[in-house]
Symmetry: C2
Amino acid sequence: MNDETRIKDTSNLPKPTKRRLVELLPLLNECESKKITSLALSSLTGWKASLIRHDLWLIGFNKGVKNGYFVKEIINKINELLENKKDSQCEKQETVKNCCIVGLGRLGAALLDESLTKQSMFVIKAGFDSNLNRVEILRSTFPLYPANKMQQVIKNENIEIAILTVEQKDAKQMAERLVSYGIKGIVNMTNQILSVPQNIKVENLSILNALNLVI
Amino acid sequence: MNDETRIKDTSNLPKPTKRRLVELLPLLNECESKKITSLALSSLTGWKASLIRHDLWLIGFNKGVKNGYFVKEIINKINELLENKKDSQCEKQETVKNCCIVGLGRLGAALLDESLTKQSMFVIKAGFDSNLNRVEILRSTFPLYPANKMQQVIKNENIEIAILTVEQKDAKQMAERLVSYGIKGIVNMTNQILSVPQNIKVENLSILNALNLVI
DNA sequence: GGGTGTGAATGAATTCACAGCC
DNA sequence: GGCTGTGAATTCATTCACACCC
């Protein structure tokens, strides 16, 4: 077997590493220099330089880097990961991810705006609310539907990700419904803990919980 | 030395433990039964029962629990922690935490609403934006100020926490300003990494980053 | 039996240390 | 000298295992 076999299997990266890489992305995109050293990244992020090198090593930066990493190369590598190309040989597949917003209260309504996902791989395809009024009144660049259309729209539009902004009390059962309709990832903006099957990914973004953690 | 000396120093709890406890709080508050077992909590959260017992042990549930924990007791204990009472003998101090919202774009404006912090220890005292228009037009239950009033208002109102909802490009420097004005905790809703002094706490709640993690 | 309390054992993530390269 | 590449050492978090209690 040749050297290629030594390339790390990036599909089961440690979670903290993946998180850091994702956070790195916006920073790298704004970087005007061609190359950047682990030390420079360290001072930009506050993370140890050795940790950054280790992370980059895990995603395949072995040998060949001389005096700092090429910013573009890091960006490309991270993007590759995120697009879950299990097989890097595979065709340049369409890497758009369809999302929806579930719950159009104050917070959900604030997301009815393309700017959130501008120049990203995410496209918001639909908004849902069980309150018909909201669905009719709110204006948005993508269509809004009553909650009873969820199953159908999620299937038709091939939506994989939901941003959950419903009221606390509805969060759990709504998450279950979404999972049953085929949603694979949930960005949970409520402060409820969602218990979902292992293969469903959840990120918790409760502002109230966050406030409790920054005290 | 007596038994009291064995009580854990809850001020430097492991971060993951603290996070779980905070997430537990809303769940416990809705719990209608008087007592709850670690097993029940496990099935509600998806976390291992032994982990939950360990967490509770760390915050002082040693001995004395017979057949499940008293829900109220857990809630109280966690709240005590959050209010940072280093010294449990201390007077029943005022445990309100003053917050502000920095950046009144679509996301920030969505938070101009008491419902977020209702029946919590947090009170939003002010909103800031460098765009005078927004400050004048938006309606809110607390006062809005132009950004140049920040230093003064933060000091006068004794504001310790900021919810950062400015545009990406302004995030870093705004964070630095906030720190220089005495802010101790930042809920960062931008996708920029903020590098702040050690003693300042930051929680990152970027929706775009979260989307990248649930793929 | 079903539950907690608790240290020890395991597993995971980070940091160190240093060889090797320009 | 400054930088990366990389396994080993260390630190940190979770899980196990079992004594004890009702």
